[in-house]
Each structure stands twice: as structure tokens, then as C-alpha cells.
């Protein structure tokens, strides 16, 4: 009689093959995400997690350079630093609540596995952003509108995040969780934190005299200001 529910991780022998380096890790998360999930449960998963975080940092730095070409100058190094740091800090801030929500949902996943799945989310997300980078670069060179570029980057980020979150959800569905309601609540929190990070670390696209903003704002208020016309046409506004 066929088993009901999702197939157990490791049922397919190809999922049990170790992931020795970052290239294999990139290929595995795109083609065999279950292999990554299975390997995160094995002893010595730390090396895989470090590899995934390394890829995430490198990819976000590369995407940051592309984002920085919109304004050029100091933004060529400031944008990559802010995007990479912002992603890592967002993940770190949200990790404890992710673990708590998975436990409350009855998941048997250990903290290291949860951390690994989160690292997988970051890696998949940033790899996809690299895929969007040429498109973003073309638009960066052909438009002057800061608001348009900001919106475009947000759309790319949102699509990449959706794929990353799908990976994370699939990972949790294999950890005997009774409910995914807590996980879905966490997804909202993660999106809010990441969106707020874009405002906290502004300007990422535009130019500014200071590295970080002097004025504290919530992202909704900042976007409202941008849409009121403060940032639509000029590269010198902070976004």
C-alpha cells in the first residue's frame, strides 16, 4: 500500500549523497532541494550551513554592486555592504522566533536544522537575485527614476523570497509539524523585518551624505514620502 503524505527525506538514494562544496550546494538547492534538506539533518551539517551562508553573502554583494550602479560613486560599495548586512541581520533577528514557532507547531526540527533551512532560504533567494541582476542593471542604466528602480528591486526581491520561503516550508513539512500556522505567521514577520531593513539602511539606491539615515522612520511612512514625490525623479534622494 502506498504511504500517504509527503515522501520521507532520504527515500531516494541520490538525496543521501553528501554535498561536498558550494558549487554542488548551489546545484542541489535548485535541482534537488530535498537533498539539501536531508543533508541538514545529518551530523556535520555545519559545513553545509557555512557554505550556504558564504554563497548568500557573495551573491548579495554581487547583486548589491548591480543595485549600486544606479547612483554610482560611493554606492558601488555602500549598496552591496548594506544589502548583504541587511539580509544577514534580518535572518539573525528572525531566527529565534522561527525556532519557537516551529516548536509550537510540534516540529521535531533541531535549532541547527532550522538555522540550516534559513540559510537555504537565503542562498536560494540570493542566487535568484543574481539571475535578476542583468535585468536590474539594464534598467539602472536606462532610467533616472528612483521610485521606479526601488519598486523593480522590491519586485525581484519579493519573487526571490517567495521561492526561498517555499523551500523553507517544504523543509518544515518533513519535520512532523502538526500545524504550519505559526510558520506562516513568522513569514509575515520576516517580510516586515526585511522591508523595514530597506528603510533602516537607506539609502541603498540613492545618494546621501551619510552612510546611515539620521532620521528614524517606519518603512510605510518612508514609502509614503517617496510616493508623494520626494523620491520619484532624483538619484540624490534616499531610498
Amino acid at each position: 500500500m502506498p504511504a500517504s503524505g509527503p515522501r520521507q527525506l532520504g527515500d531516494d538514494p541520490s538525496e543521501c549523497v553528501a554535498i561536498p562544496n558550494v558549487i554542488v550546494a548551489i546545484e542541489a538547492i535548485l535541482r534537488q532541494p530535498r537533498r539539501v534538506m536531508f543533508q541538514l539533518r545529518q551530523p556535520g551539517a555545519g559545513q553545509l550551513i557555512v557554505s550556504m551562508l558564504f554563497v548568500s553573502v557573495v551573491c548579495s554583494l554581487i547583486y548589491g554592486v548591480v543595485a549600486g550602479t544606479f547612483s554610482g560613486g560611493t554606492q558601488l560599495w555602500a549598496a552591496p555592504v548594506k544589502i548583504a548586512a541587511g539580509l544577514m541581520i534580518s535572518a539573525l533577528i528572525c531566527l529565534p522566533s522561527l525556532y519557537i514557532f516551529t516548536c509550537l507547531g510540534g516540529s521535531q526540527a533541531r535549532l541547527v536544522e532550522v538555522f540550516g533551512l534559513l540559510a537555504g532560504l537565503l542562498m536560494l533567494m540570493t542566487i535568484l537575485l543574481i539571475g535578476f541582476a542583468p535585468v536590474a542593471w539594464i534598467f539602472s542604466q536606462s532610467t533616472e527614476s528612483l521610485a521606479w528602480m526601488g519598486t523593480l528591486h522590491l519586485i525581484f526581491w519579493f519573487i526571490a523570497t517567495c521561492f526561498g520561503l517555499r523551500f523553507l516550508e517544504t523543509g518544515f513539512s518533513h519535520s512532523n509539524a502538526r500545524s504550519l500556522a505559526g510558520f506562516r505567521t513568522w513569514v509575515v514577520i520576516f517580510l516586515l523585518v526585511a522591508l523595514q531593513m530597506t528603510t533602516a539602511l537607506r539609502p541603498i539606491l540613492g545618494k546621501s551624505e551619510t552612510f546611515l539615515p539620521a532620521e528614524k522612520k517606519f518603512f510605510v511612512a518612508h514609502w509614503g514620502d517617496c510616493l508623494k514625490g520626494q523620491g520619484w525623479d532624483s538619484k540624490s534622494e534616499s531610498r
Binding site: 533577528i93 516548536c103 533602516a200 522612520k217
Partner: protein, 240 residues
């Protein structure tokens, strides 16, 4: 050989969070000083970090004070009501000893504190993004947003702690009706004492027009319920 239950194992916290009734019921029935210390440590650290995030908006010194006061309220409420809760349980149909009722309540507060601790980086991030606390900020949307966020997180953490306590009580008493009676009785007395302790130990978020201090000068003048009563009177007097 040492019994497994005597080992100090931080992974026990995830068992509490998942609400695995088999081991939790066994833990509540047998006293373990190490487990007690672990639960107290989680309360001190989890509620302490959350308190720090709460007080940080006013001043770093306020953060330190609230980091001490928040766990203190939980621990004093547990200790202050221990005897009363142990007496209420058998009177309402759940025949458990004092040690077991204390242990059950402490475990529910441990779940609450672990959740609060996990949310503390998020609350700290929110406060870091907020404009500095000023009289204008207190009258604007930021203050209300921060206040409501704290209410939502504390309510969620408290609800989850009590949901786990209810499951344990239902298991121990063998009846959901008995568990509900005992839980409501414990909640009532804990809320009654906890509210007054919070009143004495105010401020938490703080106010820009008042100094940063551990206790207000009027800490022991009046009580929480008296204040609520006066507020209600003032509201009704406006309609006269």
C-alpha cells in the same frame, strides 16, 4: 548511573514548547532542582531580554531596570501564589501536591518567557527604528504602534503558556472540565497579584517627561484596581 531526568538539558525547553505531554507529565511529578534551575534561568533570560527591549526606547538605563523587573514579576507571582494555587487545585477537583502545582505553573511561565525571549530581537529592532521618545512621539502613531506590538506579543506568549498548562492539567486530572476550572482559578489569582506587582514595579516603557528610575516615588501609593476605579469614575463624570 545518573538518571536522564536529572541532567540539565536545554533541549527540554523545546519539549515544553511542543507540549509533549508524556515527558512533561513525568517532570511535573518528580522534583528536580536542576530542572527548576533551568526553568528559572529561562524565565530570567527570556523575560529579561524582552524587558530590555521594552525599556530601551526610553533609555539604556531603563532597559536595564526593566530587564530586572520583568522576570521579577513572573517569579514573585509564582512564589506569592504558590500556596493558594496548591490549595485551589484539590478544591476544584485536581488532586496534586504543592510541588506539582508549582512545577506546572513554572513550566507555563517558562514557555511564555522563552517566546518573549525569542521575540526580543524583533522588538529591539522595532525600537531601534522608532524616532527617539519625546512628548511628540508619545502623542503620535509610533507610541501606540509600539504599545500595541508589546500587547500582542505578551498576549500571544501568555496564551501559549496557558494553552500548554491547560493540556498538562487535563492530562493530570483526566478531565478537560476540571482542567478548565483549575486554570481559570489560577489565572484569576495570578492576574490579580501580577497586575498589582506590575503597578508597584512601574515604569516599563517609561515617559520622556518623567525621570528614569527603578520605582516611581508613588510606587506604594494606591493600587492598580484603585487606579482603574478612579479612571472609570472620571470617564462617567464626563457624561454628567
Amino acid at each position: 548511573m545518573q538518571a536522564p531526568s536529572d541532567k540539565l538539558n536545554p533541549r527540554e525547553i523545546s519539549v515544553l514548547l511542543r507540549g509533549e505531554l508524556e515527558p512533561i507529565t513525568a517532570w511535573s511529578g518528580r522534583w528536580s532542582t536542576r530542572r527548576f534551575a533551568l526553568h528559572v534561568a529561562v524565565i530570567v533570560v527570556g523575560a529579561g531580554f524582552y524587558g530590555a527591549a521594552m525599556g530601551w526606547w526610553r533609555d539604556p538605563q531603563q532597559a536595564l531596570y526593566v530587564a530586572v523587573k520583568f522576570p521579577l514579576i513572573i517569579l514573585l507571582t509564582t512564589a506569592g501564589n504558590a500556596l493558594l494555587n496548591a490549595m485551589l487545585a484539590p478544591l476544584l477537583g485536581l488532586n496534586i501536591p504543592l510541588r506539582q502545582s508549582c512545577s506546572a505553573i513554572l513550566m507555563s511561565f517558562t514557555v511564555t518567557a522563552a517566546i518573549l525571549g525569542a521575540f526580543s530581537p524583533l522588538m529591539a529592532f522595532m525600537v531601534w527604528n522608532a524616532p527617539p521618545m519625546s512628548p511628540e512621539a508619545l502623542s503620535g502613531a509610533t507610541y501606540n504602534f509600539i504599545k500595541l506590538a508589546h500587547v500582542a506579543v505578551i498576549a500571544f506568549a501568555g496564551t501559549m503558556g496557558n494553552a500548554r498548562l491547560f493540556q498538562l492539567l487535563a492530562r493530570l486530572g483526566g478531565s478537560r472540565a476540571v482542567a478548565r476550572r483549575v486554570l481559570f482559578a489560577w489565572l484569576a489569582v495570578n492576574l490579580f497579584l501580577g497586575s498589582q506587582l506590575s503597578w508597584i514595579l512601574r515604569p516599563f516603557i517609561g515617559s520622556p517627561s518623567l525621570p528614569v528610575e527603578f520605582f516611581r516615588a508613588t510606587a506604594l501609593h494606591g493600587n492598580f484596581y484603585e487606579n482603574v476605579f478612579h479612571s472609570l469614575l472620571q470617564i462617567f463624570q464626563q457624561f454628567d
